[in-house]
């Protein structure tokens, strides 16, 4: 019988594998930049990462797509080799997150990199919608001002777009959008919903007296099936819109740009979502994009400063830069110059109101 060698070989191979594994760990020290954060900023950071590694001798940065909030948690964990150097955010850092960062000894440098437009799109098989932010609020809020004009709230009674605004088609209200964990959803609630909500004077008056109630009225999206949470995958929303021409979908501008043969963006306050209208801020539903850099790592991890220089160079984030090709809307020229000089100084962000 020649059975014993089987078991012996087995033990020997696995021991060998473990030894190799152990010896490699001992050698490992991080020589690449580690980036986490928003899935909206991910396409842009990865593009810069790739170009940066080609143009320089540094290793390609590793970019993880964790979502804005998840990225902040990883980023603010502390200083050290196992924490991220940079995080992307599709909204500004919150005061609570900044405090968490500071209490863990992390000094944060803020870099605004550009804008992203949020579009409400429908299938090309139908007419484009012409909406106002007020229409959006009335169609999607959980509770809306009483249609009889009194200053009270009722559960959203509107079933079709025509109910909201007689000028709109008589389609059932069906909007596919991201779930509450998404930065796109936060920005949509803040820019589109709140923008419409403020149009009611008595609600706007609440902003000073009872901020929480104001936020609850303006940001809460209805849950009776008119707003359908379609997951974080924007390509999926595009496909669902094609299948259902009566529905509207909420996603980032770059997806509209790439699928212009299938879907069209709704006009908001008479403005079509285009590259130019978002850049000059005439399209109202656009948000700033940021990256946050860990100051303590800038001198330690190889390439962080050069990476920032690449990111804030005209060929990357300029009007004709490669990030614009990827769908990021550049900042105005003056603002770009200012941010670029600020980044070189690496001034830490101490207080949100300061900037």
């Amino acid at each position: 019988m020649n059975k014993r060698p089987v078991a012996k070989k087995l033990v020997a191979t696995s021991l060998a594998a473990l030894t190799i594994a152990a010896s490699q760990v001992a050698l490992a020290a991080r020589d690449h930049i580690s980036i986490v954060g928003s899935s909206t900023v991910y396409p842009f950071t990865t593009t810069v990462a790739e170009r940066f590694s080609r143009a320089t001798q540094f290793k390609t940065p590793v970019v993880e797509s964790t979502g804005t909030g998840g990225g902040m948690k990883l980023f603010c964990q502390g200083v050290g080799e196992n924490t991220a150097d940079i995080t992307g955010a599709s909204r500004r850092i919150k005061q609570s997150e900044l405090e968490m960062c500071n209490s863990n000894g992390v000094d944060v440098v803020e870099v605004q990199i550009g804008f992203d437009g949020i579009v409400l799109a429908n299938s090309k098989a139908d007419q484009p919608f012409e909406l106002s932010r007020k229409d959006i609020f009335l169609a999607l809020a959980k509770e809306v001002p009483n249609p009889d004009g009194s200053a009270t709230l009722v559960a959203n009674p509107y079933k079709t777009w025509k109910d909201v605004n007689p000028a709109l088609p008589a389609h059932k209200i069906e909007v596919l959008g991201p779930p509450p964990t998404s930065g796109t959803r936060d920005a949509f609630a803040e820019l589109a919903m709140e923008g419409g909500c403020k149009k009611f004077d008595w609600i706007a008056a609440k902003k000073d007296s009872d901020k929480n109630a104001y936020k609850a009225i303006c940001h809460t999206i209805r849950e009776d099936g008119a707003y359908i949470e379609a997951g974080e995958n924007d390509n999926l929303i595009v496909n669902k819109l094609v299948a259902n021409p009566n529905a509207l979908g909420i996603f980032g501008f770059s997806f509209l740009d790439q699928n212009a043969d299938k879907v069209q963006g709704s006009l908001i306050e008479g403005n079509e979502p285009t590259f130019d209208s978002i850049a000059d801020q005439s399209y109202p539903v656009s948000r700033p994009l940021f990256i946050y850099v860990k100051k303590a790592h800038a001198d330690v991890v190889p390439g962080v400063k050069q990476f920032l220089a690449e990111f804030t160079s005209e060929r990357a984030w300029g009007e004709d830069g490669y990030l614009a090709d990827k769908g990021m809307i550049p900042l105005p020229t003056a603002k770009r110059q200012q941010v670029a000089t600020d980044v070189r100084k690496l001034n830490a962000l101490s207080n949100l109101a300061a900037k």
């Binding site: 019988m1 059975k3 014993r4 089987v6 078991a7 087995l10 033990v11 191979t13 696995s14 594998a17 473990l18 190799i20 594994a21 490699q24 760990v25 050698l27 490992a28 991080r30 690449h32 580690s34 986490v36 899935s39 991910y42 396409p43 950071t45 990865t46 593009t47 990462a49 790739e50 590694s53 080609r54 290793k59 390609t60 590793v62 970019v63 993880e64 797509s65 964790t66 080799e81 196992n82 974080e232 995958n233 924007d234 390509n235 980032g252 770059s254 997806f255 740009d257 790439q258 699928n259 212009a260 043969d261 004709d320 490669y322 990827k326 769908g327």
Partner: protein
């Protein structure tokens, strides 16, 4: 039977009754078989739809549009006078390509036109030229005809022409479409096999994106998983099955193992983050940690299937060996283990296939990441195939749609390969008593 005797039926009556029931029994039999066939047909149909959809979408990714250009390696445009590593790093190959395009289409003169023209060729093309010049330094100052990869917008447009006469223009302007058609008519544009897809890591430019990095990452992760989970799993199974006394403690262990097999995989990811990364300070995004986490996940599967394989070895084998004076360990390693091995291997392969398709636990340990450099070892940052699919499916660029499906095809073929080998192995080594 009792009621037959009680009522004292004649033989004739008995036969009639049986015949009556026979028809209904046959009907039931047929119905049951029909339902079985229907459910299999439903499954096959679902698989067929899935496969035709994936293959229909993904087959396009295996070819890539390329454009033929006459390139002049002009020392002045390149800004170098000799070929060495340092000067090649600074050489302006983009300028060389722009010059070649300009010569091909002299009518494009305005700044906007030139921009359009330059966007015909992939941004990765300068690196192709750099590698060519590096390999053949005598080309400096010479002119040669090369096929360069086209930009993904061009690629999408050209491929969509086979679906409809108009094709998907997207961001392609009329002028650019005109140029592309001109190139097609003169044979300077063709679709060729997409080797980049198999040799490159991830990229933001679909025409330069490949699955190599993810494939290597999957390989390293699975190696770590196999090297750890198989010996540990088999050892645990042998101890529990052959040595451990049957008492409350082993019952508790058994319940726990079965429980762990059903725990959602994300939990193992959280555990991995807490233990391997935060406590042992192993590097993030490394196949080593991925393999450790997937080991925890596949261990219960391997232990359960190995125990089942050991149980299936008839006690007569053990008793005969004992009777011949073999020790406990000799019984196990000389007789029981070789007979149980096919079952154990099948379990291990199925566990590995499960690990190959896993993404959720890897999210927590940083393997859901953009990886360009192909990993060279188990501590290099890397990602795995299913994660690559997930990342591409979420990308706005149109050309990633077909790459997503193509990557699914690669993953599926690996899974089919593994599962087929499990079946074959079992067929070949199986012993019946």
């Amino acid at each position: 039977m009792t009621d037959l005797t009680q009522t004292k039926l004649t033989q004739q009556q008995v036969r009639e009754r049986i015949e009556q029931r026979l028809a209904s029994r046959h009907r039931k039999e047929k119905l049951f078989r029909g339902l079985g066939i229907a459910s299999i047909a439903f499954g096959v149909l679902a698989v067929l739809i899935l496969f035709t959809d994936i293959i229909g979408k993904g087959s396009g990714a295996f070819v890539q549009t390329a454009i033929e250009l006459r390139v002049h390696y002009d020392e002045q445009v390149l800004g170098i006078d000799k070929v060495d590593d340092e000067s090649l790093a600074w050489a302006n190959f983009t300028g060389v390509i722009r010059q070649a395009l300009q010569q091909r289409f002299p009518q494009a003169t305005s700044r906007g036109d030139k921009r359009e023209l330059n966007s015909l060729i992939s941004t990765g093309a300068p690196f192709t030229l750099r590698d060519r010049l590096k390999a053949n330094p005598e080309l400096l100052g010479q002119t040669e005809t090369v096929w360069l990869t086209a930009d993904d917008d061009v690629d999408t447009f050209v491929k969509s022409l086979s679906d409809s006469a108009e094709g998907f223009r997207g961001r392609t302007s009329d002028q650019k479409a005109g140029w592309i058609e001109q190139l097609m008519d003169s044979g300077e544009l063709k679709k060729r096999f997409n080797t980049t897809f198999f040799t490159n890591g991830d990229s933001r430019e679909p025409e330069q994106a490949g699955i190599r990095a993810a494939l290597m990452g999957s390989l390293f992760t699975l190696l770590v998983t196999l090297a750890l989970s198989f010996p540990i799993g088999v050892a645990a199974a042998i101890y529990l099955e052959e040595y451990a006394p049957k008492n409350r403690w082993t019952d508790l262990i058994e319940v726990n193992i079965n429980n762990l097999a059903a725990v959602p995989s994300i939990v193992f990811g959280l555990l991995g983050l807490a233990i391997f990364i935060n406590f042992f300070e192993l590097p993030r995004s490394a196949p080593l940690v991925g393999g450790l986490v997937l080991t925890l996940m596949t261990l219960p599967t391997i232990i359960i299937s190995s125990r089942a394989a050991l149980k299936a070895v008839p006690p007569s084998i053990r008793e005969a060996a004992m009777g011949m004076g073999a020790s406990r360990m000799q019984v196990v390693f000389h007789h029981v283990l070789p007979l149980a091995m096919p079952g154990m291997l099948t379990g291990a392969i199925i566990g590995m296939a499960q690990a190959l398709g896993e993404t959720a636990p890897l999210l927590m340990i940083g393997m859901v990441a953009f990886i360009v450099d192909v990993p060279g070892g188990i501590t290099d940052p890397s990602t795995v195939l299913p994660v690559q699919i997930f990342l591409w499916a979420d990308s706005p660029e149109r050309a990633f749609v077909e790459r997503t499906s193509a990557a699914i095809m690669v993953l599926l073929s690996f899974l089919i390969l593994m599962n087929t080998s499990a079946v074959l192995l079992r067929k070949k080594l199986e012993r019946r008593w």
